[in-house]
Amino acid sequence: MTGYIADVAALARKDLRLELRARDTLPAMLLFVLSTLVVFHFALPTGADEVAAQGLLWVALVFTALLGLARAWAPEREGGALEGLVLAPCDRSAIWLGKAAAVFLFLVAIEVVALPAFSLFFSPLDGSAVLGVLLANIGICTVGTLLAAMAAASRTRELILPLLFLPLAIPLVVGGVGASVSTEPVRYLTFLGLYDAVFAILCWASFEYVVAE
Amino acid sequence: MSQSDYVVAAYAIVFVTLLVYVAIIAAKLARLERETAALAELARARRDTHG
């Protein structure tokens, strides 16, 4: 068991180190989310209420995540390393978990800037909204990483990932917006937790089939 | 459009979809028939050159 966790940690650390050295994905995601928020300011007509703005935060988060996910497996693809990883004596699902963990940390890094920016531009976010974001992050990372690996096998890589991801992201958006907006956020947070549990298990169990030859 | 027109439209859509499906299958059958005929021809040619 500790071997498994060590594998996952090593894989995640590798991704973080790669990103720190290359510094291409994170700055792009950051700039994208900030630009999107500014566009939203102009896209919202005057008199649109704060609740609508909360919804738009989630649009920004989902699409920024998509940007990052599209590049998630790029290091493995470009180096041909995915085949090597798959042959390595670690559990295949560890590859997925390590990558998902790395993507999660990327997303959190983005949100550390994006959420305060949103509070500044639009309306303040309360604790349940932030918790909603974190829980939704888990869902985005687990499902998105697996779908990105699937898309990597496809001819239309960048095109197909959003198509695969968006229907699955809809429940996350509902949960997240509900957590921010509703008077009883607990229901939505529980729902997000449920989504995370169900899909994390599903991804964990099925990843090895996605990368198998 | 009256209410009963809508009912007719709903059932009609299902019916038309079915008909389209049948048409597609018919076209596929025709193609498969051409394909098997071509393959039979190939098999015959093979048998004649080897025999």
């Binding site: 509902v174 899909f199 | 859509i13 190939l42």
Partner: protein, 220 residues
């Protein structure tokens, strides 16, 4: 197999008779309620097809037998067709009942919209990967995600009602009279058998295709 097709044809005919002649007219909605006899069974059959597709997908991943890939694909294909029909009949019913072609109020319609998007992506995925075990596995995993999405989306849409749009309309409840229920069941059976017949036909066609291709490769 011709027996199944004949049964399907007979049952569908019977269902129409029941829906129009046997069942009494609904007091509130009038004649447009009769759409329900097709719309809901088609929806249920779509769910069943997706479930069937997911089951076949699971079998594929379990046993790695190639034939399950095709069976799963055809089932998902049928489900998508019936799903599209659900959206179409539902939209017509919405127009008849409430005057608009689309309403976000109907949870079932919204759920089907999400599922339709999801399964459309299934086909895009399938057509963009080369044939082989990679494609079969990816399709199977995606089909499994689909059935997981069905209940999750259902709850999400229910939860979304609170802040999206308060439900102002309620539709058919389970207060159906005896004959109405009978008509509904007949229709449901008819749709299921119809879907199965179409499934078998399509499967046959695709298997023929595959066999012929192999034959051609062997001969040339």
């Amino acid at each position: 197999m011709p027996l199944i097709a004949a049964a399907a044809a007979g049952l569908v005919g019977l269902a129409i008779v029941f829906a129009f002649l046997v069942a009494p007219e609904d007091a509130d909605q009038g004649i447009s309620q009769r759409i329900f006899y097709f719309h809901v069974p088609i929806a249920l059959t779509a769910y069943a097809c997706f479930g069937w597709g997911a089951w076949k997908a699971l079998r594929l991943l379990w046993t790695r037998e190639e034939r399950y890939d095709l069976e799963s694909y055809v089932a998902v294909h049928q489900g998508t067709i019936f799903g599209a029909l659900t959206l179409a009949t539902g939209s017509i019913w919405a127009k008849a009942s409430w005057g608009k072609w689309w309403v976000w109020d109907s949870n079932q319609l919204v759920l089907f919209l999400v599922l339709f998007l999801f399964y459309s992506a299934y086909f895009m995925l399938r057509f963009s990967i080369e044939e082989g075990p990679r494609r079969a596995n990816a399709s199977a995993v995606y089909a499994l995600f689909g059935v997981a999405l069905i209940p999750v989306s259902f709850f999400a849409i229910r939860l979304a009602e609170d802040f999206i749009h308060p439900t102002t309309f309620t539709r058919d409840g389970p207060q159906m009279t005896g004959t109405m229920f009978l008509a509904f069941c007949v229709s449901w059976l008819a749709m299921s058998v119809l879907a199965y017949a179409l499934y078998r036909v399509e499967l046959l066609g695709k298997r023929l295709d595959a066999n012929l291709r192999e034959l051609r490769e062997a001969l040339t």
